[in-house]
Every structure is written in structure tokens, then in C-alpha cells.
């Protein structure tokens, strides 16, 4: 029962396409369908569906329709007519349904609201139409500035369904239809006057009169309108116009009823939201930020925000507010992505064309998320275009990317697929240079997302994702890692007040090293972690003051810590197979957003996290009062399959408070604590792809932490400027670090190699943003410290004598400036400047002779710092011309990374070579790197 339509129509994503559509609509030639045969329907109390089925039987025509459309509808009386068209017309007169008769195939297709056009519009292949051109200009002038624009997360508690207005009729096709209606206050039922209704992307607007009545001309097809008024919560509605029609709006009361201040929809949300430390990145809007090798990169944009950094250029993993890299929950469409980067963090592993954006929670983490101490990156993939086939692609110096949006069923479902790859491999292989010939450096990621809207109250989304990296660092080793994930989510409305989202997700991350060197140490090594999650979250708006979020989640982990196998007969590597680790993690939570007064709002949440490590496994116990090592093993316990080894868990609090000092000035405070049951094991100072994740077990306890933050938020000049100042203090317990020189990889008894200590982090983050105008961007400054302590009565379990010492990513001063200047519609310039205190490093402090060989003596851990880091990137964005008849819309991005050529050391290390100590530094990009990328869109 699917009707294919010949008409081409676009969504609202591109105003240009919308205009094209409008132009086409103006010029349509219409033709009504006629039918000669006589048909009658005896109708008394027949349902409409029954009447249609009966008609189908009588006429021999096959009818296509969706049952939902007919639900609860009765057939009108006296619908009999002398032909099929007449009968159908009479039957469907009171519905929003149209029909189309395919004479040759003997088929009748029913259509909701819309109609089928019998021929392509006159100007389908080009349009010298002055009227439409005018419309083009009109719309273009009002396009929102395509500047990067990171807005604070707007928590839209209310989600309104899409509305379809009117029923298209062949003899009344217009480019615009009138929408009228009455606006009332939902609570009081009073009319709402002076409600500003705007059609997004156009300059169409209307204001409701003193009785709450409004009328507005809307372009036919898909529109998004926003309704704003003082004292009223902003509303956004998606409307599809098929004909003139009515829509009454019942508005919720807003948070503030203030005189004389105009509040824009979401511009003020940074002030009004109760949560602290929340950022939102819209990837499309961040495309102008100059980035290395021309890749649009969400994670790089994130790093330009206060409180988010990494240990160095090219270091994977983000450090959020002094937390370790394993403390971030990175979700791609509800599924965990363990390594969201390619090539040591130089590229993100997320396709920029299919990624819509991300919400980043670094302060108050919503109660639905848990399992990590520091942050949540909630990354979303776009919903595909349900109207029209479209695509986007880019060709850069190292990578190529193509993303397609394929409508599957019009207005209902679509598929997004994206694929990216690096072609470095091919280049390397085609070289004569032998040292590079055997090198490998390639990556690929593919994503597909399907979404299907059953009706206004029910929608499902499914995502599948895969990424793989292959690279050789030295000629004798080949590294590879893959991420694979799939998720399925069903959003549905359970009642007027309750919406629910059921999701299942599975994530898999694995890596391998294939080492074929000259020594007797050839090996092949494999690691993998797999997790499956089932999650059900619900939101109920009890009343105007309370909005409840509640739900539960359950996760099953299965970790294969790896096997190492000797390769070739000569290898002296002992084969090691470590038992699989299994565990379940679960949580139940409930949270309430409470509007205590007009000025004071409170988010209260509690989450109970639970973890159980499961067999089969063998675990050791160690003598109390002794350091854990090979010599202090007390007993070895074997657990059967599914047997519980150890359980951990506890309540987590999520509390946030906001007080409006003025309508555009607020103070917020928050407190939350968390449990984290999985840890990364790395003996590197920065995360590399060979990090392994370890589940908590009998000997390794979960990490715990709490964070308190306090901030002031103020908007100026009609929300053109946002200023915020936020401070935080964080404590962490049972954070893992490693004994000096520990061999962590494939150690059956990791607990003898790691230390669990505590950490503290504190800082102040200042951010000023300019959201509009030719020049926009932001400036952030962070003062932050991140300190860890590993103390014990045993020297082997102590670091730096048991005192607090700065972490690898402790960079007290951090300045980020991102600026974008739009010269004309086609040319824009952007700049990105970063300054950071050099990260701590352990320096050699001398040489010593031992057993006739010289060794290096090192300072206390992280006692010194490498030179400060700074970098300036510049970029120019050149949009292609906006001629409508172009096949594809294109733009060029020219950027220079590290314009100043600063040789920022990534790490500093020392080696003894022929008995001589040499200081070496590695830097990833020591010279300015120009790049040019061609992007196109169709």
C-alpha cells in the first residue's frame, strides 16, 4: 500500500530547494482524472474502510491505502455515484484523503492530504520565472547566517507531532495556503494575544490579535513555525500545508512572565536551563572552523570549548574537566562508541555529513545517562530526507566522503547512508620508496540510519555503524582496530502526558596487532569488548511544575582481554589466552524537573547503578596488608559460568538548581556523583588505539566520583552575546594508574600491575560567545587543575611518595578563540587559536651507572612541563554560486593548520643510544599544513 509519487518535493533543509519547489508549484498544470463506469455503494452505517473494500470488490480495482487513515471514519450516506471517481469523491469528501485512479493497471491509490501530479511541472528542468526568482531572493536574504553556532542544549520537554493541514485539490493548487486558528493558554484557556508566529527560514510572520486569532500565509508543503510570546513557552511546530486550514494552538505558560523583554526561542536557554556544564554542537553550523586536512570534526570543535581538552595534538581521547580519557561516555545514536577517532585522534570516526550534532554534558549529567564519571557525548545522526533523494560529498587531500539521503516512503521513512575512507594506502603502495611501500595507513567508516514514522505518536530509528583503521607504525607491525555498533530506538507516546523511548544497542570494539619483527618476538594479538544494552526511558509531564524522567537500563558486557600467539616457529613469545570477562550493569532512575517558582527551578534525580562481575573466571585473592604481587597471592578462586564474582553499586544523585536573577541573568548550581565500572588500561601517557578496557572484578573496584559546580550566565544585547562563568570541583576515587614500568598488556593478573588512587580536579571556565552578525564566534578561557594521588604503605604501590601530582593532561591555562567573519554570502573567513600550558612530563634528571651500564634517572612523575602549546589555524570558505539550475551546490574549504608553524611537542622522551642519553621530542604537525577540500551537495 505504498504510493509512489511523481512529484518532487523538498524538505525545509534547504531554502533553495524549497524555493524551487514553490516555483514549480506555481506552474503546475493539473488534470483531473475521470472515470466512466457506473458504481454504487449502498451505505448506511458502513465504516469507510468497509465501504472501500466493498467498492474494491465491485469494481475490480485494487485500492492502496494505509489503514490508519481510515480509522474511526464512517462512510457518508448517499455516496453512490455514476462513476468510480464520483463515488470515491463522495466517500472521501469529509476526510483529508485524495485518490488517484490508474486506469491501465486498474488501481486506485488513496493519498493523505496530497495528490498525484500527472506530469512533470513545466519548469522542472529549468525555470526562467521571474516570480520565483523574486521568491528566491526573498528567502535567501533571510537565511540564518551559516556561522558555526553552538547553542546550549535546549531541552525541549514538549514534542509536538507533525501536523498536516488541508487536503490538496487538483483545481486549487497554490504556492501558499492560509493557516488560521486561535491561540489559547493551555492552563487557563484564555486567548493569547500578541503571539508572534514565524515561519522559519522565511520572513513570513503574523501576530495574534487580542482574541488570540491569527492568520498566516504559509508556503505549501513542509514548514516549521515558531510561536513566541511573553510569558508563554516557545513552541515549534512542523506543519505540512496541503490546503488552507485551521490549527489552534494551546500554549504552555512560560518560565517567566516579564514585562518589556522579548525573549527569543532558544537563544536564552543557556540562561534558563537548569543544568550546568552543558554544550551543544551543531555540526553543519561548525563547518567553517578551520581544521586539519579539511575535515569537519565534531570532536575538534568540542576541544575548543572550555573544560574539554586532550593530552596533546594527535592524542586520542578527551579529558573533560580533569577526568581521565576513559571517563567519557560517547554515544552514537544510543550505542556506545569506544574509539570515535581514526588515526590516533587526528580524524574523528564520525561522518560529518551524516552527523547532526552532539550534546555534551560535562557538569550535570542527565539522569538517564550513567556509567562514566566525567562526561557524556550524545551524538546524533541525521534523520534522512523523507521527501527527496539528496546527498553530500567531499574530496579532501587524504579522505573522501559521500553521504546520501534516500527517501524510502515519502514523508514517512528514509535511509541515510554515509561512507568515508582515506586513500593514503593506495598512494603509499604506488610509491617506489620501499620504506613507505610496506607501510599502511587507511581507515574507513560507514554508517546507515533508517527512520520510519508510523504516525504522529510512533517512530522508529535504526542505526548501523562500522569503522576500521589499519596502519603500520613501524615496518614490522600492523595495527588495526574496528568499531561496530547497531542500535534500534522506538519513540512513542503512551498518553497525552507520557512519551517513551525504548532502545536496544550493541557495540563492539576490537583491535589487533600483528608483529613480524626481526627478533624472536613475533606475535599476533587480539582484543575485543562487546556490550549490549536495553534501555527504556519515559517522560511524564505531570503538570506545569513537574516533568518526570524515569526509566531503566541493563547492559551486558563481554570482554575478550586478548590472546597473544607466537607467529612463526621461531617466536619465543609464550601463547597467552586470557579468560573472557563478563558482567552485567544495570540502572534504574527517576528525575523530576521542578519549577518551584517563576525564578527558581530544580532538577532532582536519583539513579541506582548496579554492577555484577560474572564467571566463568579465576580470580586471585591476596594477603591483606601486603602489596599485591606475585608473591602475595593467598588463593585462587574459580567461578563457574554465570556465577557472580562480585557486585558493586550505589545511588547516584543528580541535583541542579537555577535561579533567575534577571530574565537574562541566572545563577545555577549542581551536584552529582557517579560510578564507573569499566576502566582503560594503558601504559602510555596518552590514549592510543591499543588501550584495553577492563571490567571491575574481585580485585579492581569501580571508580567513583562526585562533582559540584556553580555558574553565572548572562546574555546581552538581545541574546547576541552570551557570557558564562562556571566553576567546578571534582573528586574521584579508585582511579586506575599503573605502576612504573608495568606490563599491562595481556597480564592475567592486572591487579598486580595497577594502582587505584584518588584524584581531584577543579577549575573555572569563562566563555563569551557572539551568536549573530557578520563576525561571530567565541572566546573561552579555562583555569583548571587535575591532580592524582597514589599512596600506599608499600613503595611499589606509591607514586611520588604518595603526594598529589599533576595528571598528564593538567593544563592550568587554556585559551580558545574561534572567530568567523562572513564577508559576503560566498566568502567567509575563519580563525581558530588555541593556547595551553604545556602538559606535565617526567624528565630525566641525570644519568647513573649500574652494573657497568648507564641508565637515566627520572624526576618524580610529571614534575616538569613541556613548552606551552599554541596554534593558529586559518580558513576560507568559498561557497559556489547559488544558481538554481546547478546540478550540485558546492563549496571549497581552504585552510591552513598551524599557520605559525609552531613545533608543538606532543611528547618528550629520552633514550640511551650507544650509551649516550638523547632527548627526543615528537610532534605531529610541526609545519603549517595547507589543505583544500571540495564539498558538494545535491
Amino acid at each position: 500500500m505504498i504510493a509512489m509519487q511523481k512529484e518532487r518535493r523538498t524538505g525545509n533543509s534547504s531554502s533553495i530547494r524549497l524555493v524551487l519547489f514553490l516555483g514549480l508549484m506555481l506552474c503546475l498544470v493539473l488534470k483531473s482524472s475521470a472515470q466512466e463506469e457506473n458504481t454504487t455503494i449502498p451505505s448506511d452505517t458502513l465504516t469507510l474502510k468497509a465501504a472501500l473494500v466493498q467498492l474494491e470488490a465491485e469494481t475490480g480495482y485494487q485500492f492502496f491505502f494505509v489503514d490508519d487513515w481510515l480509522e474511526g471514519k464512517l462512510a457518508p450516506e448517499n455516496s453512490s455515484n455514476d462513476d468510480l471517481a464520483g463515488t470515491l469523491g463522495a466517500l472521501l469528501a469529509d476526510t483529508a484523503l485524495n485518490f488517484y485512479v490508474l486506469e491501465d493497471e486498474k488501481r486506485v491509490i488513496l493519498l493523505q492530504n496530497t495528490i498525484i501530479y500527472e506530469e512533470l511541472p513545466r519548469f522542472f528542468f529549468g525555470r526562467p520565472d521571474s516570480l520565483a526568482t523574486e521568491v528566491t531572493n526573498l528567502v535567501e536574504d533571510n537565511r540564518p547566517p551559516p556561522a558555526f553556532f553552538i547553542e546550549n542544549n535546549e531541552r525541549s520537554a514538549r514534542q509536538y507531532p507533525l501536523v498536516r493541514i488541508g487536503k490538496a485539490t487538483n483545481n486549487n493548487l497554490k504556492s501558499r495556503y492560509q493557516l488560521r486558528g486561535k491561540v489559547v493558554n493551555r492552563r487557563t484557556g484564555e486567548a493569547v494575544p500578541d503571539l508572534a508566529i514565524r515561519v522559519l527560514g522565511t520572513n513570513l510572520a503574523a501576530v495574534s490579535d487580542s482574541n488570540g486569532n491569527y492568520a498566516i500565509e504559509l508556503p505549501s508543503g513542509y514548514n516549521v513555525i515558531s510561536a513566541t510570546a511573553m510569558g508563554i513557552e516557545d513552541m515549534r511546530r512542523e506543519i505540512v500545508m496541503y490546503n488552507d486550514g485551521n490549527l489552534d494552538l494551546a500554549m504552555e505558560e512560560g518560565l517567566q512572565e516579564l514585562e518589556g523583554v522579548t525573549v527569543e526561542a532558544d537563544a536564552i536557554s543557556n540562561v534558563e536551563d537548569t543544568s550546568t556544564g552543558t554544550e551543544s554542537i551543531d555540526l553543519e553550523e561548525s563547518k567553517n572552523i578551520p581544521l586539519v586536512l579539511g575535515e569537519r570534526d565534531l570532536l575538534q570543535v568540542a576541544k575548543a570549548l572550555p573544560g574539554i581538552s586532550s593530552a596533546g595534538e594527535g592524542a586520542t581521547g578527551l579529558n573533560v574537566r580533569g577526568g581521565k580519557t576513559d571517563q567519557n561516555l560517547v554515544l552514537l545514536d544510543d550505542a556506545v562508541i569506544y574509539n570515535p577517532t581514526h588515526f590516533f585522534g587526528i580524524f574523528q570516526a564520525l561522518n560529518p555529513f551524516t552527523t547532526e550534532g552532539a550534546d555534551i554534558y560535562k557538569g550535570s549529567i542527565p539522569v538517564e545517562f550513567g556509567g562514566r564519571l566525567s562526561s557524556v557525548f550524545d551524538i546524533r545522526t541525521k534523520n534522512g530526507n523523507v521527501e527527496k533523494f539528496s546527498g553530500e560529498g567531499s574530496i579532501g587531500p587524504v579522505t573522501g566522503n559521500l553521504a546520501l539521503e534516500i527517501p524510502v516512503k515519502k514523508d514517512t521513512s528514509s535511509l541515510v547512508i554515509g561512507g568515508r575512507g582515506a586513500y593514503a594506502d593506495w598512494i603509499l603502495r604506488s610509491l617506489d620508496e620501499e620504506s613507505l611501500n610496506n607501510s599502511q595507513a587507511s581507515f574507513v567508516d560507514v554508517i546507515a540510519k533508517y527512520h520510519h514514522r508510523f504516525n504522529e505518536n510512533s517512530e522508529i530509528k535504526g542505526t548501523a555503524y562500522f569503522s576500521r583503521d589499519d596502519f603500520s607504525i613501524t615496518s614490522d607491525s600492523l595495527y588495526n582496530y574496528t568499531n561496530r555498533l547497531a542500535s534500534l530506538r522506538w519513540d512513542h507516546r503512551l498518553s497525552e502526558k507520557t512519551i517513551g523511548a525504548l532502545s536496544v544497542a550493541n557495540s563492539d570494539y576490537r583491535f589487533g596487532i600483528d608483529f613480524d619483527g626481526e627478533a624472536n618476538t613475533d606475535f599476533d594479538l587480539n582484543y575485543s569488548i562487546n556490550e549490549s544494552e536495553l534501555k527504556y526511558k519515559l517522560n511524564t509531564r505531570l503538570n506545569d511544575r513537574h516533568s518526570l524522567d524515569y526509566g531503566l537500563s541493563a547492559k551486558f558486557y563481554s570482554v575478550n582481554p586478548g590472546s597473544i600467539e607466537p607467529e612463526g616457529g621461531d617466536s619465543d613469545i609464550a601463547p597467552i589466552f586470557i579468560d573472557e570477562e563478563r558482567a552485567v550493569e544495570g540502572a534504574v532512575y527517576i528525575g523530576d524537573e521542578i519549577e518551584l517558582t517563576e525564578k527558581l527551578s530544580l532538577d532532582l534525580g536519583v539513579r541506582y547503578a548496579f554492577f555484577a562481575a560474572l564467571g566463568s573466571a579465576t580470580q586471585r585473592t591476596y594477603f591483606n596488608g601486603q602489596p599485591r604481587n606475585e608473591a602475595t597471592v593467598q588463593d585462587t578462586i574459580s567461578y563457574g559460568s554465570g556465577e557472580v564474582i562480585e557486585t558493586y553499586g550505589g545511588p547516584e544523585a543528580r541535583v541542579a538548581l537555577r535561579y533567575l536573577l534577571a530574565p537574562d541573568f541566572s545563577i545555577k548550581a549542581s551536584f552529582n556523583n557517579a560510578y564507573q565500572f569499566i576502566h582503560t588500561l594503558t601504559n602510555n601517557t596518552t590514549v592510543s588505539p591499543i588501550d584495553t578496557w577492563k571490567l571491575s572484578d574481585l580485585n579492581i573496584e569501580p571508580q567513583t566520583g562526585y562533582q559540584a559546580s556553580l555558574g553565572l550566565y548572562k546574555n546581552f544585547n538581545d541574546n547576541m552575546y552570551e557570557v558564562s562563568l562556571e566553576g567546578y570541583y571534582k573528586r574521584m576515587d579508585n582511579v586506575l594508574d599503573f605502576k612504573t614500568g608495568a606490563d599491562l598488556f595481556l597480564n592475567e593478573n592486572v591487579e598486580t600491575e595497577v594502582l587505584q588512587g584518588d584524584g581531584k580536579a577543579y577549575g573555572v571556565e569563562f566563555l563569551i560567545k557572539k551568536n549573530r552578525g557578520k563576525l561571530n564566534g567565541w572566546l573561552g578561557y579555562t583555569y583548571a587543575r587535575s591532580l592524582y594521588r597514589f599512596d600506599s604503605q608499600f613503595s611499589e604501590e606509591r607514586i611520588n611518595g604518595g603526594e598529589f601530582f599533576p595528571s598528564n593532561f593538567d593544563k592550568p591555562h587554556d585559551v580558545s578563540l574561534i572567530a568567523n567573519y562572513k564577508l559576503t554570502k560566498r566568502y567567509s573567513f575563519s580563525a581558530n587559536f588555541v593556547y595551553q600550558t604545556g602538559r606535565p612530563v617526567t624528565y630525566p634528571i641525570g644519568t647513573f651507572r649500574f652494573n657497568n651500564a648507564d641508565f637515566v634517572a627520572f624526576s618524580d612523575r610529571n614534575e616538569f612541563r613541556i613548552p606551552d602549546f599554541y596554534r593558529l589555524d586559518l580558513g576560507v570558505n568559498i561557497e559556489g554560486n547559488h544558481k538554481k539550475n546547478k546540478l550540485a551546490h558546492s563549496f571549497w574549504t581552504i585552510s591552513v593548520y598551524n599557520v605559525l608553524g609552531r613545533n608543538n611537542p606532543y611528547s618528550v622522551f629520552f633514550v640511551t643510544d650507544n650509551g649516550e642519553v638523547k632527548a627526543l621530542q615528537s610532534s605531529i604537525f610541526a609545519i603549517p599544513i595547507p589543505s583544500i577540500t571540495y564539498n558538494f551537495k545535491f
Binding site: T474, E630, N684, G741, G846, T847, F855, V908, F909, T912
Partner: protein
């Protein structure tokens, strides 16, 4: 085509940035040098006089400086006490024969001349484990090199993982390939001495053995082994030493004394970490460095100290093999140096002549005799007389070389070892 090529070059440059060229040497500035006491105290249950070494860390471009005037004492929890006397170069030797008991915990106490006191943890001697079978095996190692591996086994009945450190002393026979029964006797470097016969050198029959010698070499690596990652109860076929078949050490008869120090897991991990601190590291894998905490610390200050007080149980084993045992009827490895070339250094330098001026013979030129200089420097040895001297070479030039010579080491084995067989040495 050309653009395509340029295109590629740009890519390669970009890629090269990612690895090869990223590591570069730099001048490490503002490194705060700290003078830290370094303790190398490795004692064992062998009943003999034993030594420890104390030094200070030194700056990168300087030389080690021994720690002088320190008080060193070893005390046992049974009340026993051993004092150590300072020798040369920071070595402190026990005043008496050390006889350490396995049931006693010992502590090393050091007071340096700056008044800082250091003491170690109490350590015990691990249970003795003897070296089991030891043999020389001809094999090709994993780098594709053929040679001889010295491998050993040991057996441990404790059921726990055991940890070992090894040292070795290898002794091998060196036979000079161009041995000559004559050696330089007199060197006449006085042109005007009484005989007035100009410069010259003479040879005489050798007085001492110089054909067969015995050379000795000690390990200077930290050789560490453990049974922890092995499925067996002891080490099996553990390779202590690999000698390439091109190594002249094994040319004739070779002997190795392997010393096994059975020590604690802590000691093993300390030495392992120490090794980690000296190896080359790739860009992507930094070993976590830091102040290496051993089992010694300052008791009356915050001073850092490096080093470890190791107590071990000792076992040793010696073995011999002949080249012919493993490589029967195969050519010998090349000698330590190349002995193919026969040298003919001139007695007089080119252009040398003496002129009679006012009745006095005056030497023209200031060059020395190439032959005599080399003889005096000990770099050449006699292999034969030049029958043609003094004569004319085929090219018409006068033949200036009275002797055929070779590098001393080719003729006289004492260049590489002692001509006296060590006491332990046994033939066959």
C-alpha cells in the same frame, strides 16, 4: 601525468608528517640536575667477601662520580652485623667474609658524608635453586643468524613463580692465525749511533707463548628471567647467551660460567623497570617513567635514592664446548681481525735522504720511519723478511721495506688474552 605525480608527492609529505619525521632530537634545556645517591648492592649467600658500589647521578655529558667516605653496614635481625670498608671508585667491600643465613632478614644501612642516612627494607635470601642442565646448542635464532645458544634449565619445587638474574663469564681459546716464532728484538732508531748503519730493526726467537691464549669476557647486561609466564615449574631451555657462528670466541674451545642469582619478584621488577628506562621508545609507546622507587630510602631527610638492595641465593655452572663439536669439518669463524693483508711498511719515508754538509751528515725531512713507528706502537708483528731488500720494485722504485708484517693480533694472541690458561681450564 606530471600533476598526478606532484599530487602524490604532496600526499606523501603529509603522511610522512605522521610518523617518520615526527621524532627529532632536541636540546633538553632547563633540566634540573639532581645529585642522587645510587646504590648498587647485590649480595648473595656465597661465603666470600662481597662488595657494593655507591655513586652519584651525574649530568648527561659528564662521568660517574663515586660516593666517598660513606659508612656502610649490613645488619641482620638476628643481631649480626657486617661492616664494609671503602675501596677505590666507590666500592665498599665487606671487612670479613660474608656468611648470610637464609633464615635471617638483613638491612643495609648507609650514612653518606653529607650526613644523610639511608636504610633498606629488611630482605631475606630466597630458597636456593640450582642450575640444572646447561648445554650449547647449534641453532638459527629468530633474526636468521646461525650460531650457538647457551641454554639452561632449572627446577623449582615451590610451585610459585620464581625470578632470576644471570651473569656470565666466558673464557675462550684464541689461536693466532699467523703465528711466527720470531718477534721484534731491537729497534735502531738512531741514525748516527756508533755502528752508523742508519735505522733498522732486528728479530729474535720468541721467549713467551704467543700462539694460544685465553680471553675472558663478562656480561654487562641485566639478564632477567622468570617462570611467571611459563607453564612449567622451572626455566626450560632458557637462552643465556647467543653467539653467532661468525664470532671468533667459539673458534676453538669455549667455556662459560653462568652465575644464577635467585632473587625476589620485587628485585626482578626493579631491574626490569630499569631496563625499560633505557630502551628506545617509539612515538606511540612511552613507557611510564618516573622516579624509580627501590627498597632503600633516606631516613633523616627527603633525599631521593636510586638503587636496590638485592639478596639472592647463588648457583653457578660451567660448561665447555669445542667448535668442532658443533661445526664438524666446517670452516672456522673469521678471526677477530682481518689477517689477509701483508703489510710492507718502509723503513725510510719517501723522499728521505741524508746529505753530507761540512763533513756532517744531515737528514733531510722530518718524517719518521713508518716501519719503526709501527713496531714501537706495537701494531705490527714480524711475519717474514723481504728477500728483495734492498732492491728495486717492478715499477722501478726502490724497495724500502725490509720486512713483511701483519697486524700484531694476527701473530700474537696476547693481543686478545692471556697466554696462561686459567686455573679452571680443562681440555677435552
Amino acid at each position: 601525468m606530471k600533476t598526478k605525480r606532484n599530487f602524490r608527492i604532496v600526499f606523501v609529505c603529509l603522511l610522512a608528517l605522521f610518523w617518520n619525521s615526527c621524532v627529532e632530537e632536541f636540546e633538553a634545556e632547563d633540566l634540573n640536575f639532581e645529585s642522587i645517591l645510587v646504590v648498587d648492592a647485590r649480595l648473595n649467600d656465597k661465603i666470600e667477601s662481597q662488595s657494593i658500589n655507591l655513586s652519584r647521578t651525574f649530568e648527561f655529558d659528564s662521568i660517574p662520580n663515586p660516593e666517598r667516605n660513606a659508612q656502610v653496614t649490613l645488619v641482620g635481625d638476628d643481631g649480626s652485623s657486617f661492616s664494609f670498608n671503602e675501596g677505590a671508585g666507590g666500592t665498599y667491600t665487606s671487612a670479613s667474609v660474608l656468611q648470610l643465613s637464609s633464615g635471617v632478614a638483613y638491612q643495609l644501612q648507609i650514612t653518606t658524608q653529607d650526613g644523610t642516612s639511608y636504610s633498606s627494607n629488611f630482605e631475606r635470601i630466597p630458597a636456593p635453586i640450582a642450575i640444572g642442565d646447561m648445554e650449547a646448542v647449534r641453532r638459527i635464532n629468530n633474526t636468521g643468524l646461525e650460531g650457538v645458544a647457551i641454554v639452561l634449565d632449572n627446577a623449582n619445587s615451590s610451585g610459585q613463580s620464581e625470578f632470576f638474574r644471570y651473569e656470565y663469564e666466558e673464557t675462550y681459546k684464541v689461536i693466532a692465525p699467523d703465528f711466527n716464532p720470531f718477534e721484534w728484538d731491537e729497534v735502531d732508531y738512531d741514525f748516527f749511533c756508533e755502528d752508523d748503519d742508519g735505522w733498522g730493526a732486528t728479530v729474535a726467537p720468541r721467549q713467551e707463548e704467543a700462539q694460544t691464549c685465553f680471553a675472558m669476557n663478562r656480561s654487562n647486561d641485566l639478564i632477567l628471567a622468570s617462570t611467571a609466564s611459563l607453564g612449567t615449574s622451572g626455566l626450560e631451555d632458557y637462552e643465556i647467551r647467543f653467539l653467532s657462528r661468525d664470532n671468533y670466541f667459539i673458534s676453538h674451545r669455549y667455556s662459560i660460567l653462568v652465575k644464577q642469582f635467585h632473587h625476589t619478584v620485587d628485585a626482578n621488577s626493579f631491574f626490569n623497570t630499569l631496563l625499560d628506562f633505557s630502551g628506545f621508545e617509539s612515538i606511540f609507546s612511552n613507557v611510564q617513567t618516573g622516579m624509580l622507587e627501590g627498597n632503600i630510602k633516606a631516613t633523616n631527610s627527603e633525599a631521593s635514592v636510586l638503587g636496590y638492595f638485592e639478596l639472592s641465593s647463588y648457583s653457578e655452572k660451567r660448561m665447555y664446548f669445542n667448535y668442532a663439536d658443533l661445526f664438524p669439518n666446517e670452516p672456522l669463524p673469521p678471526y677477530a681481525i682481518s689477517c689477509e693483508l701483508i703489510g710492507t711498511p718502509s723503513l725510510y719515508p719517501e723522499g728521505f735522504h741524508a746529505t753530507l754538509i761540512d763533513g756532517k751528515l744531515v737528514l733531510d725531512g722530518t718524517s719518521n720511519s713508518p716501519l719503526l713507528d709501527q713496531i714501537l706502537a706495537g701494531t705490527v708483528a714480524f711475519v717474514g723478511e723481504n728477500e728483495n731488500y734492498p732492491g728495486t720494485l717492478p715499477d722501478g722504485e726502490p724497495d724500502r721495506a725490509p720486512f713483511f708484517v701483519k697486524a700484531t693480533g694476527c701473530v700474537d694472541c696476547r693481543e686478545y688474552g692471556s697466554n696462561v690458561a686459567p686455573d679452571f681450564w680443562v681440555e677435552e
